[in-house]
Point group: C2
Chain length 338, copies 2
């Protein structure tokens, strides 16, 4: 399997993408197409003695930065590494794409170049939140600030396919993030989405209050991108906050306490570490596209590549497409009958 990787995205490019790529070749048996500045990539490989076996370089002149407007990927930066990678994905030069670059540009590029799955209204940026019993996928984590009920329904469908095919969780529990558990709760958006999801064949368990997210009461968390962004960022902020509180706690623990606690704190931090999970998957695009964290190191890139491979192996995009087609056929049949 070939995974395409944006060598120029993220805070430590191209070194970290390169490290992740080399490890993925060795441990996952994939080959990597690395898009970006060939001279810089070769220089980093030489300096750090990273072997380029199993890695081909796809040259790209330009780089889209965090300061660029998302739409620049279709205009003045159309020859950037991210765009070149997405074009390669579309033309079948690889089965999935990973980038740690500008999120907005990745969303625009994936939608305009690789394109959405037929019938999908909007692609969602779907991060995985750590919970008491594993992970929950957040649909949408920030791609679409304002949503219509049908978009939330599709988020539920896509998130279910992901949890089933990639996380090996059959019949994942789907819930709408809401201000109360009862069906009547929320704004018109949540109330209408409730009806749509309830009539669907998903394992829809109703509304979930935000306080029940961390314990893992649902596997697919459906919400608009504004709310999703708040949930994601607060998770991140509180995780960091608690981590620093923990450190404070043990600053007075003495040597024995400190040694004992070091491992515990590491375990705790690991459970909130995005590096081990991979990235946020862009669901609704025709091929798997993974957004790695901007500050990804080699390990984080390795996990993002592994996640991309799992998406391709699990045929996530194909399953979403088939699921939508089957729904449409069922609706037509029902309409014909009536």
């Amino acid at each position: 399997m070939k995974i395409i990787l944006d060598a120029m995205g993220g805070d430590y490019a191209p070194l970290s993408p390169l490290e992740g790529a080399a490890r993925a070749v060795k441990e996952l048996g994939v080959s990597i197409v690395l898009c970006g500045d060939e001279a810089k990539i070769r220089q980093a490989a030489e300096e750090k003695q990273i072997p380029l076996d199993g890695i081909t370089i796809l040259p790209a002149e330009d780089v889209i930065t965090m300061e660029d407007q998302p739409t620049a990927i279709m205009k003045e930066k159309k020859n950037c590494s991210m765009s070149v990678g997405l074009q390669a994905l579309s033309s079948g030069e690889g089965e999935a794409f990973v980038s740690a670059g500008n999120s907005g540009a990745l969303l625009v590029g994936a939608t305009m170049i690789t394109r959405r799955i037929k019938g999908i209204k909007r692609a969602a940026m779907a991060p995985l939140l750590p919970t008491g019993n594993g992970h929950a996928i957040l649909m949408d984590g920030g791609a679409n600030l304002e949503c219509r009920p049908e978009m939330l329904e599709q988020f539920g469908i896509m998130g279910s396919v992901y949890m089933d095919k990639v996380m090996q969780l059959p019949m994942p529990r789907v819930a709408i993030i809401n201000n109360g558990a009862e069906e009547c709760k929320g704004r018109e958006l949540e109330q209408e989405a409730y009806k749509l999801l309830d009539a669907d064949d998903l394992n829809f368990i109703g509304n979930i209050e935000a306080r029940d997210i961390p314990s893992g009461d649902a596997d697919v968390l459906v919400t608009d991108g504004f709310t999703g962004n708040i949930v994601l960022k607060l998770y991140e902020g509180l995780g960091k906050f608690f981590g620093s509180k923990l450190k404070e706690m043990f600053s007075g623990a003495g040597k024995i306490g400190a040694v004992f606690m070091r491992d515990k704190i590491t375990d705790f931090k690991d459970s909130f570490d995005y590096k081990k999970v991979g990235g946020a998957v862009l669901l609704g695009i025709q091929k798997p596209v993974i957004k790695a964290h901007g500050s990804s190191d080699g390990e984080a890139f390795f996990h993002a590549i592994r996640q991309a491979k799992k998406c391709a192996d699990g045929k996530v995009c194909e399953t979403i497409s088939e699921s939508l087609a089957a729904r449409k056929a069922a609706q037509s049949a029902a309409a014909d009958e009536s």
Copy 2:
């Protein structure tokens, strides 16, 4: 000073309100008007030998439950303890009101019976979130699911007055919870509210991302009630989640570790304990109204009563009213000039 207390609200009524009242009389030098079922109150006082010095009982026949519709307070439950208490507040029989009962009913009752401050569009339910440097007030924590920009502006004004007068924090930093720091970020709601708050004489510091809330980067967090509810509940849920993780960590710590850690864990839990903060204040009502947590014990009621006293002492409602009047006068003067 007289504080009116709903004796029938909360999971442990009337015992917990009674305990809180007795302690408040002793430690704060206030007198308490306790509304509710006189027989039950006297029975609880006798059984637990709680002195009724400084406490007068205002009899109320009925109780509004958590299952009742909020509007029931104006109709079939108009003789409930919450309604009787709010009427007493309006007629000047006390300077502030505390209840741990049905939040929706308290909002409806306070708005319809005690009434809003002139010029205030909507009252907000304002809880205090623990942060790295104290507390931030969340405006709105769930009273108004959908808001207009002018409502968010007023939330900023009211929250500023509260932090100044009750928390002794002059010129508190006001920020809009948003999906990015830049002025252009967010939905139309956040963009328009940004302009209004920016033109105001508050200490407006712009947008805050949810990840920066826990470290205490702002003192007044402005948002719609839907988003506010998500923030509040996720704070609560993650606090609980980390608390249980901490416990797990030390289950293998041995005796010495366990003893050492017990105090640390208690400190940590205390910093997230609503019981020590008081309740959520209903800002925008003509007199101070405090919503105590439903599961409040005697200590939590004591702190809610103390918070009510601070609101009355600090003349929070009067200051909000004056602030709005001054703004209106300035606007009229500006209109006359042009």
